[in-house]
């Protein structure tokens, strides 16, 4: 890639790894890098995720290396930092992440981790310099570190549990709605008698990660969940079910049916559950009808986000809600082999209608695509508010970075997420028809 990216929404690998580790209860990340890394993670990432930022300053332990450590090596600084961290913060697991400078110098992180382990501290490490890739790669590196290194700390592997499902591919904070999305996926799985292993978020600690090998299946909801699913298949022969995006609305029902088939669950129970959810969603559609026609909800929209969001949201809006996907911008750089599939899937949402599908993380290119597309509703990140205002069309922030919204447990996945999406888009359209921006 020989061009420079303006206003990128994809931070570096270290930050992707930090995000994963910070979202597992009891895991204490330790940054081994220059002091700017942790600060940048706070300023450039966590603060822009709708209220997922830790209170006050970034409370991440960091070795804050200086020139001296670049010249002579920073391993001893890490040793000291790890020792102090273990002393000051109690955790179930300490996870070292590295940065550009310490990787250039070649500090021996594996050796420092081993020293920690020899003292019976639960320590793992991930080599996560920014130059090794972006936030998505960082998620990969952190997940890989956990899958590979946890068995070295806690040997015991339990029996397979026929109902246990690991959920992969939602990158905390990179998806600002991750908590809500996971909760809903968990609720849906429970609804048909499964036991969700959500791995991140509240109530999810090392115990969840120790259970990884016991799962009956891996549920993958973005391209970024494929690697862990593949690893677990190789290590523990766990099969997986792979979606390209979040299941929103009735797509969730389709997922539940295929899980039921694959895991041999009671189909009657599943149908009962789905029927109840469908009925409720239809009820919401009906209640929305008056506003829908009064404020002219049916219109062309632009959607900018990660592939899992773009697939989930645009299919729901296009197939079930009568909106027209004009410009779809996928910002997470999915692997090349997936792009063709995404393009053909997304361009076929509304047969006979011309949908433009673009892969870009460049702010000015995205702005151009959205502007030229001429959509009458923009669903994007806060970086696209300007083009919405400039084009004079309603706007809803749905993807990272999120500057003007607080997101506590809202999500757009599943049936409840579909309702939430109807509420939020409805509010944005209604406010706009009254001459205002909702958020």
């Amino acid at each position: 890639m020989a061009h420079h990216v303006e206003g990128s929404r994809n931070s570096c690998a270290q930050h992707g790894a930090l995000q994963l580790f910070e979202s597992i209860e009891g895991v204490i990340p330790v940054i081994h890098s220059t002091s700017g890394c942790g600060v940048q993670h706070y300023l450039g990432v966590t603060r822009l995720t709708g209220g997922n930022d830790p209170f006050g300053s970034p409370p991440v332990s960091s070795s804050n290396i200086a020139e001296k450590h670049v010249v002579f090596g920073g391993s001893s600084r890490l040793r000291e930092q790890l020792k102090n961290t273990v002393k000051v913060v109690r955790g179930d697991l300490y996870a070292i992440v590295t940065g550009c400078s310490t990787e250039m110098v070649g500090d021996d992180i594996a050796a420092m981790t081993k020293e920690g382990r020899d003292q019976d501290w639960p320590v793992i490490y991930a080599n996560t310099p920014g130059f090794s890739g972006d936030v998505h790669n960082g998620y990969h590196l952190a997940v890989k570190a956990l899958i590979e290194q946890l068995p070295g700390i806690w040997q015991s592997i339990g029996e397979k549990q026929s109902r246990l499902v690991n959920v992969w591919g939602i990158i905390p904070n990179q998806d600002p709605f991750w908590r809500g999305n996971l909760n809903e996926l968990g609720r849906l799985l429970e609804g048909i008698g499964l036991v969700p292993n959500l791995l991140i978020g509240s109530g999810q600690g090392i115990a969840s990660w120790k259970q990884l090998p016991e799962a009956a299946i891996n549920l993958v909801v973005s391209p970024w969940g494929e690697l862990p699913a593949r690893m677990l298949e190789e290590l523990y022969s766990t099969p997986s079910i792979q979606l390209q995006g979040l299941p929103v609305g009735s797509e969730a029902g389709i997922l539940l049916r295929s899980l039921t088939e694959q895991l041999g669950l009671d189909p009657l129970r599943t149908e009962l559950f789905i029927n109840r959810e469908e009925a409720l969603l239809n009820h919401q559609f009906a209640r929305l009808a008056d506003s829908y026609y009064r404020a002219g909800f049916q219109r062309e929209f632009a959607l900018v986000g990660e592939s899992s969001q773009v697939v989930g949201i645009s299919e729901f809006l296009g197939k079930y809600f009568g909106l027209l996907p004009r410009s779809l911008v996928i910002t997470d750089n999915p692997p090349d082999i997936l792009r063709e599939a995404l393009i053909s899937r997304l361009s076929a949402i509304v047969p006979g209608y011309d949908t433009e599908v673009i892969f870009s993380e460049d702010r000015s290119e995205i702005t151009d695509v959205v502007r030229k597309g001429g959509a009458q509703l923009i669903l994007a990140s806060s970086l696209e508010l300007d083009v919405a205002v400039e084009s004079g069309v309603p706007f809803l922030a749905v993807s990272f970075p999120l500057a003007d919204r607080i997101v506590l447990d809202r999500g757009y996945a599943g049936y409840r997420g579909a309702t939430a999406l109807l509420e939020d888009i409805g509010s944005a359209l209604l406010a706009f028809s009254n001459g205002r921006y909702a958020c």
Partner: protein, 291 residues
Amino acid sequence: MSEKTGKHIAIYGKGGIGKSTTTSNISAALAESGYRVIQIGCDPKSDSTTILRGGNDLPTVLDTLREQSKLRIEDISAIGFGGVLCIEAGGPVPGVGCAGRGINAAVELLQELKLFEEFKPDFVLYDVLGDVVCGGFAVPIRDGLADRAFVVTSSDFMAIFAANNLFKAVNKYAPSGGARLGGVIANSILAAYAPALIDDFAEKTGTQVIGYVPRSLVVAQSELYGKTVIEAVPLSEQAQVYRNLAQYIDKNKDSVIPKPLNSPELKKWAREWGDRIFDVETGVVHEMASI
């Protein structure tokens, strides 16, 4: 950066080719003719100035920096033959940290300590580690720290290869204020064909040879006494060769931006010379393995 005092010269060349020996003898010769000289070894081996100091120990800048944060010039320098101020940048433990950045840090520290303003040298010679392996070792020729770079080479192909790499670095940095190339110093001249081979390389790359230093036992003997040839055997022919080099560097201000050969060109050039040497004096070809 502090204001530059004196002429700053960087000496490069393949490992073991004779950089430190040549640089120290040039420093000694310049000092002998009354100049104030600083020689800075930019090499983690920190043996650049040994033969100027009778082989005594000298703490390196980086070792001292590792132990104490505040340091003075006296802590990290020694006065050698003819008043030459000797400094060794030093480096990390092998396999740890970044030596390139270390040299950077050491040189910056010397500037912070106002070494050049205090000592007021006429010449500062930087003896830089072997091949230009990465940006770190290009420090003395980047950012205009040195005005001119010289490269020491023998007729050995690997030495020529290293010289060509230096030319690439000079070529890259010179247009934006980096050092230009002063010329080539041909060292360890023994074989009859060697001067012609090095001359030809210089011509092909648009530069020139500024002196031919014969391979001589006197050098090894002086080294065993911990001395330069200038100090140990001042009246020898070899001493005169080094004096001539010093004089050239003093009087001649010529410098160029060299035109390095690309790899296929360099390989082709080497093969042609291989054939020629083999034809003329069969057997000499094997001696090329040594300097």
